[in-house]
């Protein structure tokens, strides 16, 4: 029940707030914040109720109610570790986003907080749903509040950006809808057909390969648009630049993760054979995204656009880790989703605070701010470092796991992917630090910057938790990793089951990693032709360790 309350508490709040008078801005904000904090409290409770041991069932805290039995829908929610950590991220970021917008959103406050609350319900629901129709309903329900956030409270070209965002995302989801319907028709005979994810998970992997390919394509397209992966990313810079700071925080922090989450929860486990076939393509696109996003960031003069393109790059990392299909890579990817949510959310908040002071996002307008606003500069620095993955910050843990997971994976030519990924890390450091230098170092060139105020208590409240999380998650990744890892294990097992030669992390490599910190050589064996499962050389099944501590302490590895 706690899970249901967690999902619907924001929506209940939205209804309650609809009844409040619209002129009382303070009251509206306070009420919304109260509901969001209560949601956060519930999320913590759910975190406590979640059993992280790998013996626990795949989906925990399940609830199943009949919704429309005559057409096979059920209301079925439940969470695994991945959903759990992402729900917590959602519950953390939403109140901070609202708090960051106290100053900048002064018009139509009522609609604003209602939209945020509805968005939170939709996001939490998307993560928790384990019925395909329920998932789709929540997935689509995320669109409208975000569309309004961009279109009503955004900047000059907001309408264009909002419509582009909506149509782009919807284009993918509609094909996914057809795929869901097909999946429903294809798995299970008359009478036993269902949209229930656990039931479909048992059937879908046995579909014929051509069917799997098409279905995977439809799901992957929808998720890849949301991520966004390289050729489908063009809506993102527009949406980010035009969205208000609060919208950007939610969009970058949580909404983009829904795409990668979709791969982990739906596209890969449902269609394992197709996933393995398409994996090189996805990995190539991910690597292109990493490098391209980084290069685009380098050439931006608008801070918000820079951060937006850096999202393309960072989510390329996440996708690369997923494509590795090793426990390490997947765990690292999910961890990197959280990191990106925290660091990019904080960056958007910081850029928003600068914009509130100076009404400009052009880097050339700034310079030398470190002397004027030391606290803001310090926080900005910490977040920048977390974003570039300095050891000791959360970014390092994720990137390290992803790169080592990719290197040791059975992806053909995996060292090359790793190399380009690492190149992306370097470029990331370049553009982030260069931006930092241009904005904060040097003399104060612009007179208008002289009298800027430093962080206010409200801004500290927004940034404080994010900074603490960035450092805390860098130093103590254990609790989160141990909750993600059973889910990653399960995913790798599922894929291993279909294609043993191409997936998985040998036990030895993990052990070696733990001892020496040096990733083992990847398996260079020729991959078996995929179309003939019978031809796969029989490799003994490798049982993954029940407990998993893949990480060297970051400081120890890189002093």
């Amino acid at each position: 029940l706690s899970l249901n309350l967690l999902i619907f508490l924001p929506a209940i709040g939205a209804i309650a707030i609809a009844l409040l008078p619209r002129e009382e801005h303070g009251q509206l904000r306070a009420a919304a914040l109260t509901f969001m904090l209560a949601t956060f409290g519930l999320a913590l409770w759910v975190w406590g109720a979640f059993d992280p041991s790998s013996a626990a069932p795949e989906f925990q805290l399940e609830t199943q109610w009949s919704w429309a039995p005559s057409i096979g829908f059920t209301y079925h929610v439940g969470i695994d570790g991945v959903a759990l950590v992402l729900m917590l991220l959602t519950a953390v970021l939403t109140p901070l986003a609202l708090l960051s917008a106290f100053q900048s959103v002064r018009e139509r406050v009522k609609e604003f907080v209602i939209a945020l609350l509805l968005l939170e319900t939709a996001m939490l629901g998307t993560l928790a749903a384990i019925d395909l129709v329920l998932f789709y309903v929540f997935w689509e329900a995320m669109l409208l509040p975000m569309y309004l956030l961009i279109g009503v409270w955004g900047y000059e070209r907001r309408i264009y950006a909002a419509v582009k965002f909506f149509i782009y995302t919807m284009a993918g989801s509609l094909l996914m809808l057809v795929a869901i319907l097909y999946l429903y028709a294809a798995t299970g005979g008359p009478g036993s057909r269902t949209f229930d994810l656990p039931a479909i998970l048992a059937h879908a992997p046995h579909l014929a390969l051509p069917v799997q390919r098409w279905l995977f394509f439809a799901f992957a397209l929808s998720f890849a648009i949301k991520v966004p992966m390289f050729p489908l990313h063009t809506w993102l810079p527009d949406a980010h630049v035009e969205a208000p700071a609060a919208g950007s925080i939610i969009l970058a922090g949580v909404l983009l993760k829904m795409g990668t989450f979709g791969f982990v929860r739906y596209a890969f486990p449902l269609f394992p054979q197709a996933a393995i076939q398409y994996r090189p393509l996805l990995a190539v696109l991910a690597v292109i995204g990493i490098v391209y996003g980084a290069l685009m960031s380098l050439s931006q003069s608008d801070m918000k656009k820079l951060v937006a393109y850096s999202s393309v790059s960072h989510l390329g990392f996440v996708m690369l880790g997923l494509c590795a299909l090793t426990v390490e890579g997947i765990t690292g990817s999910v961890y990197q989703m959280l990191n990106h949510g925290i660091s990019t959310g904080a960056l958007f908040a910081l850029v928003g605070f600068l914009y509130e002071r100076r009404h400009s996002r052009e880097m050339s307008q700034y310079g030398g701010l470190a002397a004027v606003v030391p606290a803001l500069a310090a926080v900005f620095l910490i977040i920048t470092l977390s974003s570039v993955g300095l050891p000791g910050t959360n970014g390092f843990v994720g990137e390290f796991l992803i790169l080592s997971g990719t290197f040791s994976s059975k992806l053909p030519q995996s060292p090359w992917y790793t190399m380009f990924g690492a190149l992306g890390v370097i470029l990331g450091a370049v553009y982030m630090l260069w931006m930092y230098q241009r904005v904060f170092f040097g003399p104060v060139k612009n007179e208008a910057n002289q009298g800027l105020a430093d962080l206010t208590p409200r801004e500290w409240t927004v940034l404080g938790p994010l900074v603490l999380l960035a450092i805390g998650m860098g130093l103590f990744p254990g609790p989160i990793l141990s909750r993600i890892q059973p889910a990653a294990d399960r995913l790798v097992h599922r894929l291993e089951h279909t294609q043993p030669a191409l997936v998985g992390t040998p036990l030895a490599s993990l052990a070696r990693l733990r001892v020496t910190g040096i990733p083992p050589r990847p398996n260079q064996g020729t991959p078996a032709p995929i179309d003939e499962p019978g031809a796969v050389p029989s490799i003994p099944r490798i049982h993954l360790p029940q407990t998993f501590h893949p990480l060297p302490r970051p400081q120890g590895a890189h002093p």
């Binding site: 009949s66 919704w67 429309a68 039995p69 005559s70 057409i71 829908f73 139509r108 609609e111 129709v133 789709y136 309903v137 689509e140 329900a141 669109l143 409208l144 569309y147 309004l148 279109g151 009503v152 907001r158 309408i159 909002a162 419509v163 909506f166 149509i167 919807m170 284009a171 509609l174 094909l175 809808l177 057809v178 319907l181 097909y182 429903y184 028709a185």
Partner: protein, 499 residues
């Protein structure tokens, strides 16, 4: 052929509607003074009563579908569900009309009486099981609607619209009648059941060819009535020119009735395998469905007039309903297809009825210029009327098929039936065209929330019946979008044909 009490009971909704019409016409004659408020109330009560009668008749008809004495009409789950939907459509039109006519000093008994008569014709249409009977019902409906379209006769646009509607309607009736005659010539019967018996058991090749020709002509006739591309040319002009309550009536109730009759003719008379059977009409209607979905949405894209946009959107929705009709050609999944179509029609009734209700609220009293229903009229509505704007947003989302609205569930069920029936390409074209549609539905939301109101904005009228229609439409759309179970269940039970 003798009528039993049960037969009267089966026709009781139609009798109620006709009686209401007669009462209104009579009292109008003897009316002194201008106290006409009772007329709308009487109509609304009659519509509601007829709808409830259908709901009450429903369970028994689902359990025991039967033909009335003489076999000219039937009562089954399908006709009860469709009939109830039509009566709800009438209710929407009445409410919108009550709010719309009063400020224009045009409230008369004829308006409501014509509405009721048209609805009686529609209800007979979905119950009809005999080509001649269906033709009579079709004409009852059509003639009343022609008159309604010209109801504001002081203005030129309604007159023009009514004339266009009349001409094309007459052509379509001619097609229908010719088709019916050929079917009669081939089979010697006008009853659908008898024709069906013949088309299922091929004896002489010539008979089959004659039946086939009759089928195609019937389809053309229906194509005009449901405004399927390429028989849709009249729709935008007529929808725009007619008074808005009448537009709503045409968009929702007429469409449901025409689809009900189409489905019954196809399934009862041409439902089994044969030359004049699903193998022939599935590809034909499949092509029509694709043209209608894509065409309707494409033309709506470039419309700035909201009323014309909704007209094209109604054409596009006819395309989605046609997908349901095509899916019903697969004998194995027929029940699913029919019930998805019923659900879709009900969802569309709430959404389009409510949306045209908003249009009526925004209309100027007096003659409208050519730019009358421009999108600009909706600019800033989110500020001026947050409640109406929120309702309109829900309705637009439903028309676009975005959850959590009934429109999404309708599209979902239609496409599911299509996939199950092996019509995957239709489902894919359907979702792609839905994407096209998304743009113009969103544009309205853009205008309502993201553009400031014009200086010369038309004041928004406050008349509670019209607002009630809007709120009812939005509330039903949300309610059935979220708690979709009961309606979907009823539609599923009603998906089986009798007779």
């Amino acid at each position: 052929m003798s009528f039993t009490l049960d037969d009267l009971l089966a026709l009781s909704p139609v009798i109620a509607l006709s009686a209401g019409a007669l009462v209104l016409m009579l009292t109008e004659v003897f009316l002194r003074g201008e106290r006409r408020g009772y007329q709308a109330i009487a109509t609304a009560v009659t519509a509601l009563a007829a709808a409830l009668l259908y709901v009450w008749l429903g369970p028994e008809s689902i359990a025991k579908p039967r033909a009335l004495s003489g076999g000219f009409a039937v009562i089954d789950g399908f006709s009860c569900f469709a009939g109830a939907t039509i009566c709800i459509g009438l209710l929407f039109a009445t409410l919108i009309g009550a709010g719309f006519l009063k400020p224009r000093a045009a409230e008369r008994g004829e308006f409501y009486a014509l509405c009721l008569l048209a609805a009686a014709g529609m209800c007979l249409l979905v119950q009809g099981n005999d080509l001649l009977f269906i033709f009579v019902a079709l004409e009852t409906m059509s003639i009343a609607t022609y008159a309604l379209a010209a109801y504001l006769r002081a203005e030129s646009r309604p007159t023009e619209a009514a004339f266009k509607y009349f001409l094309l309607g007459a052509v379509s009736s001619a097609f229908f009648l010719f088709g019916a005659a050929l079917c009669f010539g081939a089979s010697g019967h006008t009853q659908l059941t008898e024709i069906g018996r013949l088309s299922a058991a091929p004896q002489v090749a010539g008979t089959q060819a004659l039946l086939l020709a009759g089928l195609v002509l019937l389809l053309v006739g229906f194509g005009f009535k449901i405004a399927a591309v390429p028989f849709h040319m009249w729709a935008p002009d007529v929808y725009e020119g007619s008074p808005t309550p009448v537009t709503a009536f045409m968009a929702i109730a007429v469409k449901t009735a025409a689809f009900g009759a189409l489905l019954r003719v196809l399934i009862t008379a041409f439902g089994e395998t044969g030359l004049a059977g699903p193998e022939t009409w599935r590809p034909l209607l499949g092509g029509l469905a694709i043209l209608t979905m894509v065409g309707g949405n494409l033309w709506a894209l470039s419309e700035r007039s909201v009323k014309r946009m909704l007209a094209y959107s109604s054409v596009a929705h006819a395309g989605y309903l046609l997908v349901g009709v095509v899916s019903s050609g697969n004998l194995e999944t027929r029940g699913e297809a029919v019930s998805s179509l019923l659900y879709y029609a009900a969802a569309y009734t709430a959404a389009a009825g409510g949306a045209l209700g908003v249009v009526a609220l925004l209309e100027r009293v007096g003659p409208e210029s050519g730019q009358a229903w421009d999108l600009d009229r909706f600019a800033g509505l989110g500020q001026r009327r947050p409640f109406s704007a929120a309702a309109m947003t829900v309705l637009m989302l439903s028309l676009a098929g975005i959850p959590p609205t009934a429109g999404f569930m309708g599209k979902f069920l239609i496409f599911r039936a299509a996939v199950d029936a092996g019509e995957l390409p239709l489902a894919i074209v359907g979702v792609v065209s839905a994407l096209l549609g998304l743009y113009y539905y969103l544009r309205l939301i853009v205008y309502m929330y993201m553009r400031p109101a014009a200086q010369t904005a038309v004041p928004v009228h406050r008349h509670w019946p019209g607002e009630a229609a809007v709120i009812a439409g939005a509330a039903a759309t949300l309610w059935f979008g979220i708690l979709t179970g009961p309606l979907a269940n009823a539609a599923q039970l009603s998906g089986l044909f009798g007779g």
